[in-house]
Amino acid sequence: MTVGTATQRAPGRYVTSPSPGSLAEVVDLILDKGLVIDVFVRVSLVGIELLTIDARIVVASVDTYLRFAEAVGRLDLDRRRGPGLPDLIEQVGSKGKGVAAGGVARAVGKTLKGALVGDGDDDEQEQDEASERGRGHDADQRG
């Protein structure tokens, strides 16, 4: 999966252009930013308010600390690509899903996804994008 479906990065450029008509990169701007007139009624639509949730996450949990301790304990810094590293990557990749930060962010991503589902049949890329916001550490996003 790359962001190429929702953004376009010209060769030699680092700032990507949003694809015309793609909501992925602008949906929260459209809903959270811009001119507002309080006296006018905002469109009240089920699901939309979910998009403005502040997904602040409490990370300071014992589980998280223990996971970090385990992960860093298994780092093999002396042998840069030693046998411990693939294990660790695998472990972080799978166990990480249970961590508060990633887990909640993904859950919010799914909620965003849900809010936009059902109004069109070409939602796939936006849905993927919404989910990906919660796991920005995926290096392969930058296609």
């Binding site: 680092y14 700032v15 930013k33 007139i37 469109v43 970090f68 860093v72 304990g73 909640v104 550490h137």
Partner: protein, 259 residues
């Protein structure tokens, strides 16, 4: 004064459907939108509002897409202050009395601020694996605790493991904060204004919008490239633009007279 850009007028068959505000532009640039059939422009003195019929039956996603697309198109044609999605009025005239008349001066000033400029949104994500490797190699406290853990092996008490984990979490947070500051400090001088910032939460360490003069777009882009190189693998920089100035449509730009 109301000028109807396209074929679909203010009255007639559309009946009770409300109008959705797209944003505000200069009245003398209203003609720039004449090819956008569905857009209606209504003016009050030097400023004007762009509106579109709101059809609830089209569905949320289609309406959001239409809003984003029309805002992009007007922004490409002239200085434009985008409206947040969902501001509905019964009649175009309502927007004149409630929005344009009381805010003429502020809108004129804001439109001058965003003229020839775009929003570029920059988000920075910490890449946990690379960041972990960095703090484990460079933080002396973590180095010592790791050594102690290694000596004790399976016997290492939970308290020690918690101490190490807490230390790692703290080091990652400090690294995230430093990286966010580096990005902000590097890009801010190339821009007119900044909104948002960091650190945020989870792996997202910075989410900021910059107002960039088009004449400096290339310099900004190159600076983003240098940041990506400098941050190595420990942070991913994701910059998207040019965007309509959603984050700069409210009167909060630093102004001399406000000082």
């Amino acid at each position: 004064m109301t000028r109807i850009s396209g074929a679909e007028g203010a009255g007639g068959a559309a009946g009770a459907r409300p109008w959705r505000l797209l944003g505000v532009l200069r009245a003398d640039r209203a003609d720039a939108t004449k090819d956008l059939d569905q857009v209606l422009v209504t003016a009050s003195g030097p400023v004007a509002a762009a509106l579109v019929r709101h059809d609830e039956g089209s569905g949320v996603r289609a309406n959001l897409s239409e809003h984003a697309s029309l805002v992009e198109r007007v922004h490409a044609l002239t200085a434009f202050l985008p409206a947040r999605y969902g501001i509905l009025v019964r009649e175009p005239g309502d927007v004149v009395s409630a929005l344009l008349d009381p805010n003429r001066d502020a809108f004129e000033a804001l439109l001058a601020d965003v003229h020839g400029r775009d929003e570029v949104r920059v988000r920075v994500y910490q890449v946990e694996q690379a960041a972990l490797e960095q703090v484990a190699a460079t933080d002396s406290g973590i180095v010592q605790l790791r050594a102690a853990m290694r000596d004790l092996g399976e016997e290492a008490p939970t308290g020690l493991r918690l101490e190490l984990g807490e230390r790692v979490a703290g080091a990652l947070a400090a690294l995230a904060e430093a990286d966010a500051a580096l990005v902000l400090d590097t890009l801010r001088p190339l821009t007119v204004a900044v909104r948002g910032g960091g650190p945020a939460s989870g792996s997202l360490v910075l989410d900021a919008s910059f107002l960039v003069d088009r004449a400096r777009a290339t310099a900004f882009d190159q600076a983003v490239g240098r940041l990506i190189e400098r941050l190595g693998g420990r942070a991913e920089v994701r910059a998207v633009g040019p965007l309509p100035p959603y984050s700069f449509a409210e009167p909060v730009l630093p102004r001399e007279e406000a000082a």
